[in-house]
């Protein structure tokens, strides 16, 4: 089922037209999607920061940022610039090497995970066979960076924050992976492209959220916990730990944590929309619309149109989820650490195990609905 725009192929053909060898064309092509996705991630963070400020203001009946640009849209850029030009401080008794390496170790796996986020049939950096498993593996590196920066800061609040972050991340990874496993079981593939294609049969009706409602809720709770968003933001609980593992950080190193947490939030929202909400597919199948309008699905104009609809739908779904996450952050109280661990180990883990078992049973009983 190979259809859709293949930008890489056309780009390589274009370069070969100038007499370049296919290898050199490939090397020129390679950095382009990576840069594009990096820029998309950073712009996504700017938008999310602005949304967070505006929505939190609305939730608290304030106005929020107003003067930097229309409706304060330039406020996140001002924030970023401020962090960029601030003095970089390493506390005198801190461990310099680990203190610097910590934020990098937090940010790099998150950005690497964007490798597998598809915005369309061919609109992703690499359709690696292990797909979603790569994200699970990469997200498990993050706690090392948090522990590292917590330890290197030489501050008891930082160390406690780092330990909490690691404990939280370990306990929520397991139900997260189990609910992804139920989806993989239905798809027979780990690739994100296959996961979306498997949901594209009947538009909104064939999205995984109807077949995996429990998995959807478990995944969303675990994703919020992995991002350390407010119902679960114990590692940086202001009232208890100052700012957790970030306490001693300033300037660009703090900005790396900030960027990492927001990129992670957008990534989680994108993955929820890919796994459960049909990814780039429109609520009504595009093929059906094209048939209704009597247009051939492979015509170049239709292809461009479907690709743009795909990108818009993916981003729209992700930002709806980001909106819910922001609303949750500003309306819910924080859980205690024992409640957090109880929820993870005694509630979500058994539920996601049962969900996996039921999915396997349903797959055997109704192979046409739950993937043969």
């Amino acid at each position: 089922m190979e259809y859709g725009l293949d930008l890489e192929y056309s780009f390589n053909e274009f370069l070969k037209g100038f007499g370049l060898s296919s290898e050199i064309a490939h090397i020129i092509w390679l950095p382009l999607p990576m840069l594009l996705v990096l820029v998309a991630a950073v712009v996504g963070v700017l938008v999310t920061v602005w949304l967070e400020r505006k929505i939190s203001a609305a939730a608290q009946q304030r106005i929020g940022p107003e003067y930097a640009g229309a409706l304060g849209v330039l406020q996140p850029i001002a924030d970023g610039l401020k962090l960029l030009v601030k003095e970089d401080i390493i506390p005198s008794k801190a461990d310099g090497i680990l203190f610097t390496a910590g934020p990098i170790l937090v940010l790099v796996p998150v950005i690497l995970s964007w490798l597998i986020v598809p915005f369309g049939q061919n609109l992703l950096i690499s359709n690696v066979g292990i797909g979603i498993f790569l994200w699970i593996a990469l997200s498990s590196i993050q706690p090392i960076g948090l522990l590292m920066s917590g330890y290197a800061s030489n501050n008891k609040y930082s160390l406690l924050g780092g330990l909490r972050a690691a404990a939280q991340s370990i306990s929520y990874e397991i139900p997260l992976a189990l609910s992804v496993l139920a989806i993989v079981l239905m798809t027979n593939s780990l690739s994100t492209i296959d996961i979306v294609n498997q949901q594209s049969g009947a538009g909104i009706l064939s999205w995984n959220i109807w077949r995996q409602p429990v998995g959807f809720i478990v995944f969303w709770i675990c994703a919020l916990a992995e991002c350390e968003r407010l119902p679960f933001d114990l590692p940086e609980a202001e009232e208890e730990l100052v700012a957790g593992y970030q306490t001693e950080y300033a300037g660009m190193k703090f900005a790396l944590f900030y960027l990492g947490s927001y990129i992670n939030l957008i990534l989680s929202a994108l993955l929820v929309s890919i796994l459960y909400l049909g990814g780039w597919s429109f609520p009504i199948p595009v093929e059906l619309i094209a048939k209704f309008l009597n247009l051939p699905i492979n015509a170049p104009l239709i292809q461009v149109f479907t690709a743009s609809i795909g990108i818009v739908m993916t981003v729209l779904k992700a930002y709806l989820l980001v909106f819910i996450a922001i609303l949750l952050r500003w309306t819910t109280p924080r859980v205690r650490i024992d409640q957090l661990l109880d929820l993870g180990w005694k509630f979500l883990l058994p539920i996601s195990l049962a969900n996996l078992l039921i999915t396997a049973g349903l797959k055997l009983a109704f192979p046409q609905f739950f993937g043969g």
Partner: protein, 199 residues
């Protein structure tokens, strides 16, 4: 030499250097925290080597299990019991070092011999299965490697039960370290009184 092969050679050299230097650091560094973090780096580079061998699933599993679980738990444990105390000097440290070095060198010579005698090249290029390897690993785990797989899980279960027994004092009626009877009512009771009477 094509660009792909050059890239592969550069990656291999860098990764193997990181593995070797990192592993030496894990063993030789005084600070246990640095050793633990370097161990994570070594595990990551080994995952990179798997990736170079086209075994992407094994690489991701290596990252998930060794870096994400084993190494995080090691660092976690080190930080929970992070006492700043110097190690006690050992009397016969020199003879111990000589013995351990000779054992390591023997093992190394054994490995080198295996490396030199074994035939590494695959019989045909069709043996490389790449992306399909995930499916193939699953098939093997549930057919001819089922018994080792199940045995490994039983081993993990035993370790888990053992850890629970050690951690929960109400399971045993004696304290393991002191031999004193344990107060069955409070599981999280500290061994020393938290508040002393000030009168």
């Amino acid at each position: 030499m094509s660009i792909a092969i050059t890239t592969q050679i550069i990656c291999f050299t860098v990764l193997s250097l990181v593995v070797l230097i990192g592993a030496l650091g894990v063993v030789l560094l005084e600070s246990i925290v640095y050793s633990a973090f370097l161990l994570g780096g070594v595990f990551m580079s080994v995952a990179g080597l798997y990736l170079l061998l086209n075994a992407s699933f094994v690489a991701a599993a290596q990252v998930l299990v060794y870096v994400g679980a084993v190494n995080v738990l090691i660092i976690f444990a080190i930080m929970l019991v992070n006492k700043k105390e110097d190690l006690k000097p050992i009397n016969d440290i020199k003879s111990r070092r000589i013995i351990s070095t000779s054992i390591c060198l023997t093992l190394l010579s054994l490995l080198i011999r295996v490396d030199l005698t074994n035939v590494w090249s695959l019989s045909s290029p069709q043996n490389s299965i790449g992306e399909e390897s995930t499916i193939r690993i699953g098939e093997h785990l549930f057919s001819d490697y089922l018994l080792p797989f199940e045995l490994a899980s039983v081993l993990l279960l035993m370790a888990m039960i053992g850890a629970i027994v050690l951690a929960r004092r109400d399971v045993m009626n004696k304290d393991i370290s002191t031999g004193l009877p344990v107060d069955q009512e409070l599981i999280e009771k500290s061994s020393e009184p938290l508040l002393t009477n000030k009168n």
